[in-house]
Symmetry: C2
């Protein structure tokens, strides 16, 4: 690894300790200088020479080439001990400014020195985000080390109590005698929402969400103040193929998965949030900030949206209504109005993408004046609901932070509200005709799920405990790894066996789409197709070469293009990897959550397989070589989305006339198999993942 790579990597480590404290396996400290002390007045009293001999444990001193550094003035307004939220316009603007600074550095020397000086004076979350985004997109840093988030900010993912135990252990127990730390689960039978804690608080699920928003940043909110080059740069970061549609689809699938888990846990589907009413669900985070010893704000039961009046973050509840009215009007008119007043048609192919960018909203929104900032604002309202005018000076709840938002039951209620807009739009689109669904000559004649030691057509789920080394995120000197043992859902590996009959005259190519949904609705009755279609969760999607005649095709669960492997979700950054890849690869539904929990008796489900005509699916580009394993929810880095069809096809639209049930929906190239998800309440010890 080049020195640049390594030095950038070290800058991310132990974010709350200054650069002149040793970091990394070689105990490397950075040499500081006057420029550094000038922007870091808190260390000024130490003086250059004292800083540079400060850490007696340092075994190596790195001298970075000094370059002029820009002013961080406005960016300093977000203090080091404050929370950073991409849902707050001001924070987004500050992040945009810092991304611009890093983006505009002429070379690596300038970038490294500027980052080194910025690191200890700026808010550490803001710094991490901006430098990561810049490095992901700069041509000269694409192969640089940008390690993942949980390693350096474990307090956003790991319960405060567990971290306290880990700290104790680090001090008390020598490396050889250490055991993985577990803390008792804090689950109450009184609170039905706790039944879903294993899903909402899953570290992999939350890491996925954080990674998604890192690879699909909103962009900054003030493009109008920028030079053309800056606008271009921002667009490059934000304007990825079908990102608006992906915003819709990824979140739609999260809701579908969440509702699936709810049904498995004898709960009804999550209710769309009526934000004019009180929010019944409370949420008390168990996370605390390592640095300040304060926990994130809780939301007690029955809180209501109120106008926000928090310094430069002023939002009005009335606006939500106005924006949503405008968005619904656009949906029903079939077109949006851009900032110049021109109509832009919501076409069958592009409409959902346009809406996604508007509703989220990202910098690609065609008209933020008219359609506002709906989804982000909802996060902001809820994240500050405990202290809407900041009179108590209490900062965010988890809904304000994409690394933690999925922990809160209201996340799903808010996103159901958002998803309902998309569904309303989808209902305006032409229904798929039989010819748009069928693949003449191709019949799926059987499906079977095979799994070791399970009956056929049974998914087996269970608990697993995994050990994760968090030593790099604990802000004090520790020798050796310190393992946290956490419990999560897991499933037995399985294989799909799909029997396809190609009764055409030639070999064909198809796209095999695999979905899963509960067989019965909340009341125990069979679904209407209309309701079941949004319950389908995507399990896999892959290209398949169909030889003539009948053949059985096999596909392993770990090949899924929805998920990334367990190791990829949790593993440490490997020094030989490129950062850009690493971060992109970090996006993906965690494989251990591929299959919903099911029930001990076996949860009745329907496995749906469809083989569509590859000619209608294929995109112009070849798939990239790397990180193409979770394209369905994350796209493919620097490539087009790997499926030309609407995301969620064939379940993204209302069915053709006369179709009321899933059976009626089927064309010969589709098939449904009844399957069962059987949960076993045992715990498997997985051991260290890294």
């Amino acid at each position: 690894m080049s020195n640049f790579k390594r030095n950038f990597h070290l800058l991310f480590e132990r974010p709350h300790q200054p650069v002149f404290i040793a970091k990394g396996p070689k105990k490397t400290a950075f040499k500081v200088c006057e420029e550094y002390l000038k922007v870091n007045p808190r260390y000024k009293c130490l003086g250059v020479s004292h800083c540079n001999s400060f850490d007696k444990n340092a075994e190596e001193l790195v001298e970075v080439k000094r370059t002029p550094i820009p002013s961080f003035d406005e960016i300093l307004e977000l203090k080091r001990d404050e929370n950073f939220s991409l849902f707050i316009p001001k924070h987004r603007r500050l992040a945009g400014k810092l991304i611009d600074i890093f983006w505009n550095m002429p070379d690596l020397d300038h970038l490294l020195f500027t980052a080194m000086c910025a690191r200890d004076c700026l808010n550490p979350y803001l710094f991490h985000y901006a430098l990561t985004v810049a490095m992901l997109h700069r041509p000269d840093t694409k192969d640089m080390a940008v390690p993942t988030f949980v390693e350096f900010f474990p307090d956003k993912f790991v319960d405060a109590k567990a971290l306290a135990e880990l700290k104790d252990q680090a001090i008390l127990i020598s490396e050889n005698s250490r055991k993985p730390i577990e803390v008792t689960e804090e689950v109450s039978d009184k609170e039905v929402e706790h039944r879903l804690m294993y899903f909402r608080e899953d570290m992999g699920v939350n890491l996925h969400h954080w990674h998604w928003h890192l690879v699909y940043p909103h962009g900054t909110s003030d493009l109008e103040d920028k030079t053309e080059a800056q606008v271009e740069a921002t667009k490059k970061i934000v304007d990825k193929d079908r990102r608006g549609e992906l915003f819709y689809y990824m979140h739609q699938q999260v809701i579908a998965r969440y509702n699936y888990e709810r049904l498995c846990n004898d709960l009804k589907k999550t209710k769309k949030l009526d934000w004019t009413k009180e929010i019944e669900e409370a949420y008390f985070p168990k996370l605390g900030t390592l640095k300040t010893g304060m926990s994130y704000a809780a939301r007690v039961a029955n809180q209501k949206f109120q106008d926000l009046d928090r310094e430069e973050d002023k939002r009005y509840v009335d606006e939500l209504k106005k924006w949503s009215d405008q968005i619904y009007a656009a949906i029903h008119h079939g077109s949006v109005i851009d900032e110049r007043g021109c109509l832009i048609s919501l076409t069958e192919s592009k409409g959902i993408d346009i809406l996604g960018n508007i509703i989220e909203s990202s910098a690609l929104s065609h008209n933020r004046t008219l359609y506002g900032d709906l989804h982000n604002t909802g996060h902001d309202f809820i994240g500050n609901i405990h202290d809407p005018d900041n009179r108590h000076l209490k900062s965010l709840g988890v809904m304000g932070d994409s690394a933690m938002a999925m922990r809160d039951p209201v996340f799903y209620r808010w996103h159901t509200y958002i998803d309902d807009m998309f569904q309303e739009y989808k209902a305006t689109l032409p229904h798929y005709s039989e010819s748009q669904l069928n693949y003449p000559g191709i019949t799926v004649s059987a499906i079977e799920v095979q799994s070791h030691r399970s009956p056929n057509n049974t998914f087996s789920t269970f608990w697993q405990k995994t050990d994760l080394d968090l030593s790099k995120g604990l802000d004090f000197d520790t020798k050796g790894p310190i393992y946290w043992r956490f419990k999560h859902l897991q499933h037995q590996p399985f294989t799909y066996k799909i029997t396809v009959n190609n009764h055409s005259n030639s070999n064909k190519k198809g796209t095999c789409r695999i979905f899963l949904a509960p067989k019965y609705d909340e009341t125990g009755k069979p679904w209407s197709f209309r309701d079941q279609k949004i319950m389908f969760i995507e399990l896999d999607k892959f290209t398949i070469d169909l030889e003539r005649g009948q053949k059985i095709y096999s596909r392993e669960d770990h090949e899924s293009t929805v998920t990334i492997s367990f190791e990829k979700t949790f593993r440490k950054f490997q020094e030989e990897e490129s950062s850009a890849e690493f971060n992109f690869c970090g996006c993906g539904w965690p494989h251990h959550m591929l299959i919903p929990k099911g029930t001990p008796e076996g949860f009745a489900s329907q496995l749906f397989v469809m083989i569509s005509n590859y000619e209608d699916d294929k995109v112009a580009e070849e798939l990239g070589e790397t990180c193409n394993d979770a394209g369905s929810y994350c796209g493919i880095k620097n490539k087009m989305y790997p499926d030309r069809r609407a995301m969620g096809y064939p379940f993204d639209r209302l069915p053709r006339n006369g179709v009321d049930t899933l059976q009626e929906f089927l064309t010969p190239n589709m098939r449904v198999q009844d399957v069962t998800i059987k949960f076993s309440d045992r715990i498997d010890i997985h051991g260290p993942v890294n």
Copy 2:
């Protein structure tokens, strides 16, 4: 200092680190043994020999004589990382059990070894409380070291952000380069209650309250399960002279002082809490627990009392109504009914004491079945209002902890509700006749307040910043002191000059009582006596020898029998002191808060001086030698309350007929002087207090 003394002292230090980690100036570790490891399974894996060589910094190893240790079984139910609240009956019971264990140890060897073994397995707050109470009352530990609370649990008194900075400094800055740490005040102009933050969050005020409840423990709630000897032991701890009356008076004075400060800050008096309605005031603590990185629960605006259903802590809102109805009935009937059904008269001299014990309630309550546990239950309801049935497993807000309760605006609203009951009772008592007020032959003919560089009859107040060493409470190895610089109110020293005319034929002895009240009510009009009488705050009370003829008597503010000195409030425990004295001496209103803040323009007030006949005031006992300096609010250790009169005399009752104003109330031995409290918005740096 004997070894026992020192060893007990060390057991209190760094409560979150086990005994085998070095403590104290000589870096002393305790030698552990099998018995210790048996009750501390978390260290079992280390083994005896590893524990005893664990801390490489230890320079001295203490071996404590091994004795049989009792079972801590039930006491272990309160986990180490939970909060401990004397307002929760279960916690009170567990504390009672542990006090019993310590109380019943036959000698110091048993006590020390048992405490050493208990220390690292029991909840550290519970352990501290129980051992302190036991040592305060055991004859053989009265001269033992029981240091104060803030030193070892700074997270209950110091903002989490400040502690985080202190930790940083401890790691980063060497002893010689350290500067006192200050954090920016978190005060918002939007929240009017923040105007009183200097009072509510004053460390001295909160330490006073904590000390008061330590020297006047509630007692355990299950006397009925105890042997007679145990009941006697408990009574000895609880049954102090006029403790019920003192509960009333100390809290009444706190309310009067708080309302005084509110008027100085252009706020109306605090409103009595109507607990059937929503509580408008929110409170967000800025404290976090050092150990777990979680903050105490916040209370958002408009929360309402709800039934508590938290494991063994079940309380019903209905009961409050029932209890308060019974208490009001008793007040109006002039008698209470004891557990056996007998009437006990609320006599003029004893009634208030009986009521105090009933309302608080302490173990001395005559009938907990009928009158319940009113005041404690209110604290409990409010402390758990965010999660009344514990479904979210979120523990206490500050109202559940006597070390922090005074931070919350609702404390004063709840105690106004409580105080109203006492005032209702006081209104039933015979009014003081002129002869009960006058002191024939004695006239107070003039009063003057003199203060350096201030006009006469002016109290001068200002801000002061003081540095406090908190190194002992930070749970990691630090060399040298680490100072926190905190801001608090202070006043210029002053002298009362009281001109008394003894026109009788002989020298006399009198009790001089000095009170202060705002001159005008909330609307700016002169008070009616009825309203002003409960606004008077006691400033001093002392015995005075009155020579014949006219003479000017001087009294310095620092001699006040209401306050303890600044140094006593904050100083470290000195090794040569006795613990019992130290703790008793720790109780007392902090001297820097003797005079309310006033206003920059000068806040119009009335200074009241009365000289009563010592023959009617004196008690049978001589005053103790030590800790007699704050007797008014705290009593005197092991002595009778030093004034036979009703506490608050002469303002504790309705005035005689025809008296509507303070002037009309006066007899010749009383006098009122208009005075002004002038606040200067400057900051004086006081430097280290210890």
